[in-house]
């Protein structure tokens, strides 16, 4: 789960990292009031889950409260990478002399949390990683001990020649690791960690991604989820216990298992079609999930045909068949349905489907070909 910048800043501040003041506004009037309270020049920053906000016009400098209100009026309601801006962060504009990058991710190769730092901050770190990998310094952290003081200082000295500043940065690195671990993050980054005119360090922008698997043990973090920042179909799917990702094509896909779901999308493309979505109904045997899945898929007007690809294991074919029959009774389908079903309780499933006037195929390639053809002629 992605956190907004203002939410990430709150977490870092609570862990003792120097974060400049700043407040969130949902209207131009609020923005004006916050800017007046902060005094002086401010930055108005769109709070959306998308990179490249600055390039998209979602980050503006304002000299005073009136200008902050004007920028906020423009940025609120703006669409950045398909997401509508609902909130802006108003923070004091800082004069900075240097920008570094600090980030922690879980590294798959070393199977440890990895601290990554670079003196080339303020820009997209992925670009630095490609163009100048030598500018990124890494430290694999032993999770049993965390970031040890000498390790942090060693890394910090690669960024700062001044010992006082290096010590301050090392302290921030240890605190960032503390925050990363405490909230169950899969990513925590400060970019930039700015050196201000007076020589102090400040976390000007922050990004935290929480591991979805941690949310049940952190209800306070789960409550930070901003469903307005996500596609409504994906919110509905999550609430129904499904994994759904909307894509741009016309063949709606309903599959059990993530790997098979991806392979089904790939096969749609292989036969000349375009998948409308990724949807994994999971391993459970609940006809209601199939009803929810069909409701979500059919809500997309670009869907021209729907393909079921079910390989029964834990998922029982008869449950899926019952779900299809129930859903088509409730939903009045306007697009053709192609069903491929094999595995556990296959015979029973086919009996249920045949009685309701559907037919089922047993071969995946044949089903995908038919769905692609139907999506094209529909």
């Amino acid at each position: 789960m992605n956190l907004h910048e203002y939410q990430a800043r709150d977490i870092l501040r609570r862990h003792g990292i120097p974060v400049p003041p700043g407040e969130v506004a949902t209207s131009a009037d609020q923005a004006r009031a916050i800017a007046a309270r902060l005094g002086g020049a401010v930055v108005v920053k769109a709070q959306v889950h998308a990179g490249g906000r600055g390039k998209a016009g979602g980050v503006k400098l304002a000299r005073d409260a009136a200008e902050a209100a004007a920028h906020a009026a423009k940025i609120l309601g703006m669409t950045i990478k398909g997401l509508v801006v609902q909130r802006v962060l108003i923070a004091p504009a800082a004069e900075i002399t240097a920008e570094s990058y600090l980030g922690i991710v879980v590294d798959r190769a070393s199977q440890r949390p990895m601290l990554m730092v670079s003196a080339a901050g303020g820009v997209d770190i992925e670009e630095v990683a490609v163009q100048a990998p030598e500018k990124i310094h890494r430290l694999a952290v032993d999770p049993r001990y965390g970031v040890l003081p000498h390790q942090a200082l060693g890394v910090a000295l690669k960024l700062y020649g001044d010992l006082t500043r290096a010590r301050a940065a090392a302290d921030i690195m240890q605190r960032l690791y503390g925050a990363f671990y405490a909230v169950g993050a899969s990513l925590a980054e400060i970019n930039p960690l700015a050196t201000t005119r007076d020589g102090a360090l400040a976390a000007l922008d922050a990004k935290i991604v929480i591991d979805d698997n941690e949310l049940t043990r952190h209800p306070e973090l789960a409550a930070l989820r901003d469903t307005s920042a996500e596609a409504p179909s994906e919110v509905a799917a999550r609430e129904a216990g499904l994994t759904f990702i909307k894509l741009d094509g016309s063949v709606g896909c309903c599959v059990n298992g993530a790997g098979l779901a991806m392979a089904t999308m790939d096969l749609v493309k292989y036969y000349g079609g375009e998948p409308a979505n990724f949807l994994d109904i999971g391993g459970s045997s609940d006809p209601q999930k199939v009803v929810s899945a069909l409701r979500i898929i059919t809500a997309d007007p670009s869907v021209r045909a729907i393909l079921f690809n079910i390989f029964g294991g834990i998922t029982r074919g008869d449950d899926v068949a019952n779900g299809i029959v129930q859903a088509t009774g409730q939903l009045a389908l306007k697009v053709p349905l192609v069903i491929r079903l094999t595995g556990t309780n296959e015979e029973l499933a086919i009996e249920i489907l045949t009685k309701a006037g559907f037919s089922a195929l047993s071969d995946m390639d044949e089903a995908v070909k038919q769905a692609v053809a139907k999506a094209r002629t529909a």
Partner: protein, 289 residues
């Protein structure tokens, strides 16, 4: 022969009285797996289905039954704890089916296992099966046939699809291993490939990868350097958009190395026959064998 599990496997089921644990214990017993014990704290002294003694702790279960392999069906919140307990009880092979374990839990579990010499398969995996010898996990036994093809995969139902194609064409399997769809897993492609290379009863290996991470590329390097047996590869997620988690926690394209195109290119460079779709597995095997 086979890898990791066979007739010598003496299995203890952690979470045997739960919904999934009890259902799959019956399936495994029906397949002929030697399920020698179950563990559910507070249910020690019971006998599951009149055949499997239940213990309160793994230590008791192992002491009483000489179990050498465990399978975990407990909820995600306590799964890491179950893995620690299995390792402390001296279990050499731990298979964790549970999905949804926080990745930071795994950063603590994996070094603990390494220090004790225990192997973990999974988490978030379908387990493994050596057809007609032993089934440890949830792979449907009826789609498998005994034979000489090794199968290793990050996925569940996609594995069933490909095994189904193999069995239908008369290619039985020595062992099918689902290594799991999480970013941090106990047993990698390379561990399995190396075991298949050493197994005298495996002639070729089918490897099923997906987007995310670089395990497939590392495996490709290993295959080029250390394997003489033919390998057929598939990568799911050719149409997946970057930055979105495709169901599995580990299936997310971050940077260019996680894409299907990059992985398929690495396979091709290493001389692995690359399937464009699951149905290609049979044709490619025929060519290579």
């Amino acid at each position: 022969m086979s890898i990791f599990v066979d007739q010598q496997t003496r299995l203890v089921v952690q979470g045997i009285t739960g919904r999934d644990g009890s259902f799959h214990t019956r399936q495994m017993l029906g397949y002929g797996t030697k399920v020698v014990a179950g563990v559910t704290p507070g249910k020690g002294g019971q006998v599951f289905d009149g055949v499997v003694p239940v213990f309160d702790t793994m230590a008791d279960a192992v002491a009483e039954t000489r179990a050498n392999t465990s399978i975990i069906y407990v909820p995600a919140a306590v799964a890491a704890s179950a893995i620690f307990e299995a390792a402390d009880a001296g279990i050499a092979l731990i298979v964790c089916i549970t999905e949804g374990i926080p990745v930071l839990d795994m950063t603590r579990v994996l070094p603990y296992l390494h220090e004790r010499g225990a192997r973990l398969i999974g988490p978030n995996c379908p387990g493994l099966i050596s057809p007609s010898r032993s089934k440890v996990g949830i792979i449907p036994g009826n789609i498998c046939r005994p034979g000489r093809i090794g199968v290793v995969s990050r996925s569940g139902t996609l594995t069933y699809e490909i095994v189904h194609q193999l069995s239908g064409a008369g290619y039985g399997q020595s062992t099918c291993v689902g290594i799991g769809g999480d970013p941090l897993i106990g047993t990698s492609f390379i561990h399995c490939l190396s075991a298949f290379q050493a197994d005298p009863d495996t002639d070729a290996v089918v490897m099923i990868g997906e987007i995310g991470g670089t395990d497939e590329q590392l495996a490709a390097d290993f295959i080029q350097q250390a394997m003489s047996k033919p390998v057929i590869g598939f990568i799911a997620g050719q149409t997946a958009p970057p930055g979105r988690r495709m169901g599995h926690a580990g299936a997310i394209i971050a940077g260019s190395s996680g894409t299907a195109a990059e992985k398929m290119a690495a396979f091709a460079r290493a001389g692995i026959a690359v399937m464009k779709r699951p149905a290609d597995v049979v044709t490619l095997l025929k060519e290579r064998l």
